[in-house]
Amino acid sequence: MELFINQVLAGIATGAIYACMALAVVMIYQAIDHLNFAQGEMAMFSTFISWQLMQWGVPYWWAFLLTLALSFAGGIAIERLLFRPLAKAPILTNVAGFIALFAIINSVAGLTWDFTIKQYPTPFGSSPFLGSQLISTHQAGMIGVTVGLLILLYLFFQFTRIGLAMRAAASVPESARLVGINTSWMIALGWGMAAAIGSIAGMLIAPVVFLEPNMMGGVLIYGFAAAVLGGLTSPLGAVVGGFLVGVFENLAGTYIPGVGNELKLPIALALIITVLVVKPAGLFGRPIVKRV
């Protein structure tokens, strides 16, 4: 029993990483109706920017805020320059665009900061949390930040004018335009927010997985799994899905014989496919109704 509780706790700790990433995935999916395959690379690039700022002597929290602002601006810039012209293009073209973006960011980051693994500082320290060996203060901090972010997002979408406008633009663009919402800028805003959330995820993950241009590959896939499990239309679902995937991954690794580290990834993927087949809307998502 103790083993079980320990594994669940450890799972929640890793789940926080996935939850963060899933939140960014859901944000962008809400805004543009596509899964951004370059999301992980954008987060990685933001993390490198914050690392560079710290190398230049900027204190952690200033670097954090500056990176947040830069990522937000960067996300909007990418949307305005590259993806706005593709808004009416078929989904295939958009996916190709994401792949191109992925290649560009990965290669530029590799050239600027090379591929060696770098240490990344944590603001929370890494001593055991409340005397537990399984959760460090950093992981506890990560869970706290993720939950805080979720509450902030909820308040933003529920109680601010601009949050309401964004929701309107995402669900019925035509009607939203008729009541005077600038839907095209709402999409740009969605990109900016997704980039900013991604940068928070990157900066929280970097102390755990270390900083390097390919650090996001695995995390993004778990993020996708979490987002799909929770439902691509629900930020709350993304966070819950993230924790569930983390716990599931750990329990499967412990209790199913033959599942070592090498099979953890296929398990996440099997989870994606199972959820998509059994309940495509996810746990908290709205089912999509098609009209003939």
Binding site: P85, L86, A89, P90, I91, I104, F224, E262
Partner: protein
């Protein structure tokens, strides 16, 4: 819904004259064929090897084209089928001692079954969800191939080395050249099969599903059957391409079949023009040569150059090589009139 509809509005020509717009005219085909047959006689072995590569990658892109351009379904998981084909051929040649030519139909058949089965869950998904599910398959494949259980057969992380076949009947040809003509023959056979498939009753069913699933089912098309069938045929052809690839590079290892390969094939299709079968070869040439060109421009930034080139293609010629071909055809038409 948007995905399926988009494909329709983007490619109205496909509905109007399916035969002409999905294939080349007879004259052009003969010229291309002659070029493909004669060129190897005049170039070095390495270039022949690269041409072989273009052919089998072209086959894999063609397979994806049948799936996406034909039936309107998405796949980022073609590398998984390719890997299964390559491993089937390699294992049959090295462990069972089968003749290389005979392993290809087996690879195709196994992949057909695999694709058909994978098509079952894929039935319920469309657009972005299908992209995600197939993406998951592609990412999982290298891990599965590395598994300890299969190590006796697959060679684990090390992979398998395949012996290159000699030219038969004492023909005075180098191994590379023989392999090129062998690949060419198979490519032509599969190309003709694909063209005819798309012109047949099944092909029309694919296109009906692509254009409007509900209307297709109202006309009596068994949507579930034809969607899975499209997956099966596509996977089968990809499997043959994978087998040819294994024979040509003489080596299979899990890390040659990562998601990168799936993405390359996908890009090949976009560059060649979705739904235009001859474009597959152009797309294959793009994915083989452009990374080299990118590396020539800047070694450290090859990924970035590749990405920028891809963006250029998307923005300037969104329909890929097909658009270029149509423009060229119109120009020639004008010249003839004056």
């Amino acid at each position: 819904m948007s995905a399926v509809e988009d494909v329709v509005t983007e490619a109205p020509a496909v509905e109007a004259v399916p035969k002409r717009s999905m294939t080349l005219g007879y004259g052009t085909s003969l010229v291309v064929l002659a070029a493909l047959i004669l060129t190897p006689l005049f170039v070095k072995n390495f270039i022949i090897f690269q041409m072989t590569q273009i052919l089998y990658f072209g086959l894999a892109v063609l397979a994806l084209n049948i799936l996406t351009g034909g039936s309107g379904q998405f796949s980022l998981g073609q590398s998984a089928f390719y890997a299964v084909g390559a491993y089937t051929s390699a294992i049959l040649m090295e462990h069972v001692g089968m003749n290389y030519a005979l392993t290809l139909p087996v690879a195709g058949a196994i992949c057909f079954g695999f694709g058909f089965l994978f098509g079952q869950p894929a039935l319920r998904l469309s657009g972005v969800y299908l992209a995600l599910a197939t993406f998951a398959l592609a990412v999982a494949m290298p891990q599965l191939l590395k598994l300890g259980y299969f190590e006796h057969w697959t060679g684990g992380v090390q992979g398998l080395v395949v012996t290159k076949p000699d030219a038969p009947f004492g023909l005075p040809m180098s191994q590379d050249m023989w392999l090129y003509y062998f690949t060419l023959a198979i490519t032509i056979a599969i190309y003709i099969f694909s063209v005819n498939l798309l012109k047949s009753r099944s092909g029309r069913a694919f296109m009906a599903i692509r254009d409007n699933e509900i209307a297709a089912s109202a006309m009596g098309v068994d949507v579930a059957l034809y969607k899975t069938l499209a997956f099966g045929v596509s996977a089968g052809i990809t499997g043959v391409a994978g087998g040819l690839g294994a024979i040509a590079v003489q080596f299979v290892a899990p890390d040659s079949f990562t998601i990168t390969l799936a993405i390359q094939l996908f890009l090949g299709m976009v560059v060649g023009g979705v739904g235009w079968l001859p474009g597959s070869i152009v797309g294959a040439a793009f994915i083989i040569f452009v990374p080299n060109i990118a590396e020539g421009i800047s070694k450290g930034l090859s990924g970035a150059v590749f990405g920028v080139l891809l963006f250029l293609v998307i923005f300037l010629v969104p329909h890929g090589a097909r658009q270029v071909a149509i423009v060229a055809q119109q120009l020639i038409g004008k010249l003839k009139k004056t």
